[in-house]
Symmetry: C3
Subunit: 210 residues, 3 copies
Amino acid sequence: MRLRLKPRDTSVLSLLSDQAKLLPVGAEILAQVVGSAPAARVALAEQMRDAEHQADEATHAILRRVNETFVTPFDRDDIYELASRLDDCMDYMEEVADLIVLYRLGELPAGVVAQVGVLQRCAELTAEAMPRLSTMKNLREYWVEINSLENEGDRTHRRLISDIFDGQTPAGSDPIAIMKIKEIADNLEAAIDAFETAANAVETIVLKEA
Amino acid sequence: MRLRLKPRDTSVLSLLSDQAKLLPVGAEILAQVVGSAPAARVALAEQMRDAEHQADEATHAILRRVNETFVTPFDRDDIYELASRLDDCMDYMEEVADLIVLYRLGELPAGVVAQVGVLQRCAELTAEAMPRLSTMKNLREYWVEINSLENEGDRTHRRLISDIFDGQTPAGSDPIAIMKIKEIADNLEAAIDAFETAANAVETIVLKEA
Amino acid sequence: MRLRLKPRDTSVLSLLSDQAKLLPVGAEILAQVVGSAPAARVALAEQMRDAEHQADEATHAILRRVNETFVTPFDRDDIYELASRLDDCMDYMEEVADLIVLYRLGELPAGVVAQVGVLQRCAELTAEAMPRLSTMKNLREYWVEINSLENEGDRTHRRLISDIFDGQTPAGSDPIAIMKIKEIADNLEAAIDAFETAANAVETIVLKEA
């Protein structure tokens, strides 16, 4: 292994901001997938795959940079954790867009639209918060709001699942249609949870520095 | 960021004990939910939400205390991990109680009662073990018993799922009823796994100190 | 706690290699379960349980050795993480074998056979890679290939789920049969993900040493 000069490098933070900027893009495409007619969804899911691919590359750029840098702004493991959790957020959103196309779903229930609305707000808050890691200021409000959105998402999800099983959605009482829409709802819930896990990673970083 | 005197503080351990004491309370409420008639479940699920809320506050008190303390009794990350995993145990139990009400389930199969029995024993063992972190003595028996309970829970879960699919439960052969009861069984299994993950976190702490 | 001389000990690496060698054994048994007639599966699932039990013991041997050793070749937490993730790979494979028997499934769809093929390649690559941790050479190709297999597995899984819901598998359009086969497909996907998580743990170790 060759020796390498490892300079102190805060540009890891700008890479994290770049990565996080892709999240509202992905959330917006997902909202379009949900709101579109089935025929228009194929092209949108393709856009989503591109966004997810860009996010993957942004994640790997961060992991490489952390490795090349001797003094990182925070604990190396905490940066790995945060970058990986931001990557999860995009992965879940991409999976939902793909499943909606694969399952050839028609109209989606209002609860799904509400879940995607929560995701869009999570993505905006996360993208706005990451640049504040450079000063470590005003981050508490970010994770408090994400936790509150996660609670809202959780309530939305439980109500939706109850409606699905009660035949109160476009899936009606067809078991196969119910399984499909439940899978969508569960993956959206997992996406919202991923935003909370990323916010927890930020909280850990901030508390350690306090 | 203001400077702050950070004293060595073992009271993190008493906060962990306080948090863990809520787990048998939650497990007992869950057992009552499972054993009650549907009409009585609504009020019990409300009690469960309160217990989960208290557990949330206990978790945050630990994370804040760890942060205010310069010399923690163990590795800071290990305390974060343990507190977060104990929090997961309560979250899963609360979710099950809520789903039983939301799905308007009637009589529950014996396998579900057995899973909740495993959870009650896990919760008792965990609450009894946490105070022993101050001396680090007699903890091995705790994680060995939890691992053995997790194995028992796993066998119970697999048999239950097989019975559910075979129409051998109150859900009969109605696909929607089967999906609901399977969701309950899977979340109970996740709750039991969460207790094992918490026990693994304790094992990690103890092995590092050995 | 008694004092103990903790020698530098690279034999942790040979224990990791021993643990990883069990993975292709498990993957091969799983392939046989999938390819066999139902009557032959019971004995094979029993073999699988034995392999999983051996893997458990190998994992615990690693955790004990890490603890007895003062200077481990890598960060202690990273070895714990890698050993635990390798253990997960076997656990998921064992669960699939057991579920196939419990659910009394007949012929399995081609997509399941394809998923198990991906698992076999993951297991082989992982077993071959672990001994290279002693020199830290030629490991990049391992995690790059695992990531690529995980992508292949993900595509296979999504196509399979879509086929299952479309009635294009031996499960036909029977909701209960569909739920069972979907559970198998989802657990196989989780097994493949577990191999990727283990490869990420190796990547973390290698990048830290670079």
